[in-house]
Amino acid sequence: MHEISLAENILQLIEDASLEQSFTQVKTVWLEIGQLACVEQESLRFYFNVVTQDSIAQQARLEIIEIAGQAICNQCNREIFVASYYEACPHCGNSALQVIQGNGMRIKEMEVE
């Protein structure tokens, strides 16, 4: 649902970087999207194509690196992988988990010319 504003935020970060780095075309953009970040990848790709029209990123290919959700169990202290917020710890069944990875979304790097 908010993929259009994510796409606009990504374009803005690209344009900021182009002022600092002086490049004229973006070929590839690598994003890291956490599994828990509630981002619909297909929708993000769609809106990225829409918002980058007539911009320096209009030719850009979007590479999305999915970051696995990881949490620490508050009860047994083990690190576990989780695909959603409502999973229970597979070791002890406790559902009080502290997410340590996979809830963010970052623009990682770009290939430009």
Partner: protein, 302 residues
């Protein structure tokens, strides 16, 4: 879009006027972050974010001039919502400095946010100053409903946008008469999905679930129930007419967010409201104390 921040304001309007891009600098709202003990780790944003550059794809034994090869890799390593988070940090510092306790009210459309705010204002407005920011895609009906209670309200219309962002709120708070030690409610656009991702600078997100919606909303929209610090179960006056399983709804919410406090109430009948008011007063009191201790210790935020 506002070119100074890049947050998606789209066709957003505040009290019917489109957002002008120069207002942020009118008021001194650019604070240095000094408090690292805050529990919102994403708010701090170092200013120096110049990306590193390195070249790739050129064979080191190759004799051709690497400058001729125009392709290069640029490291960015920034949160996609960095701009929103910078505004949120600014808003939060403004609120902290002025002892303003801010709640970001989120729910599906029609869960009773505006009704609940009206009831809450009626019960509290002789005890503390209150202001409201209303977010809706269209119309200023909700701001008008709030103003009828006598407290100031600003309407933000997000147009097609399905959530408020910190930039819109930054504009709105410059137009509101906001007193020190006051209470500010932000009613977000009715939507259980993306408002969870956009920090506005609030002290807490409060999620409203009404008993006409189905017990499994927390499982269907886990991000929101994870992001909220309090759940209000509204329209409890209707329970005798429904098959809604209250315990099950609370169990689902706590599966997503262990120990999230839940208050059962009715915005229209007033049952359960006092627990909610107590929760507000506690938070408001600590916001005021926090401001005083900053003043007392002579910590300047600007």
């Amino acid at each position: 879009m506002c070119t100074t921040c890049g947050c998606h304001t789209g066709k957003a309007r505040i009290n019917g006027k489109s957002i002008s891009h120069h207002q942020h600098s009118d008021k001194p709202m650019y604070y240095q972050l000094v408090d690292s003990s805050r529990s919102h780790p994403h708010a701090a944003m170092p200013a120096a974010q110049l990306p590193n550059t390195f070249y790739f794809g050129t064979n080191t034994t190759d004799t051709h001039d690497p400058a001729m090869d125009q392709t290069k890799m640029i490291k960015i390593e920034r949160d996609i919502l960095v701009k929103n988070n910078q505004y949120a940090a600014k808003n939060r510092h403004y609120f902290m400095k002025h002892g303003i306790f801010v709640l970001n009210m989120v729910s599906s459309p029609g869960s009773g946010k505006t009704s609940l705010l009206i009831k809450t204002i009626q019960m509290l407005c002789d005890k503390l100053p209150i202001a409201v920011i209303e977010g809706d895609q269209q119309t200023d009906h909700d701001a008008a409903r709030i103003r009828a209670t006598g407290v100031p309200a600003i309407q933000i219309n997000t147009g097609k946008g399905c959530h408020l962002n910190a930039h819109m709120v930054n504009h709105a708070i410059q137009q509101l008469p906001l007193e020190d030690d006051s209470l500010l409610f932000i009613e977000n656009v009715g939507n259980l999905v993306c408002p969870s991702a956009f920090d506005l600078g609030e002290a807490h997100k409060v999620v409203v679930l009404s008993v006409t919606e189905g017990e499994d909303k927390p499982l269907k929209y886990p991000d929101m129930f994870h992001a909220a610090d309090l759940m209000l179960l509204n329209k409890c006056d209707l329970l005798p007419h429904l098959t809604f399983d209250t315990d099950l709804a609370i169990e689902y919410a706590q599966r997503i967010h262990p120990e999230i406090p839940v208050i059962q109430l009715s915005a229209t009948q007033g049952n359960g409201i006092s627990a909610w008011l107590d929760w507000i007063k506690t938070g408001h009191h600590s916001a005021v104390l926090k401001k005083q201790s900053l003043l007392h210790n002579n910590i300047t935020l600007d």
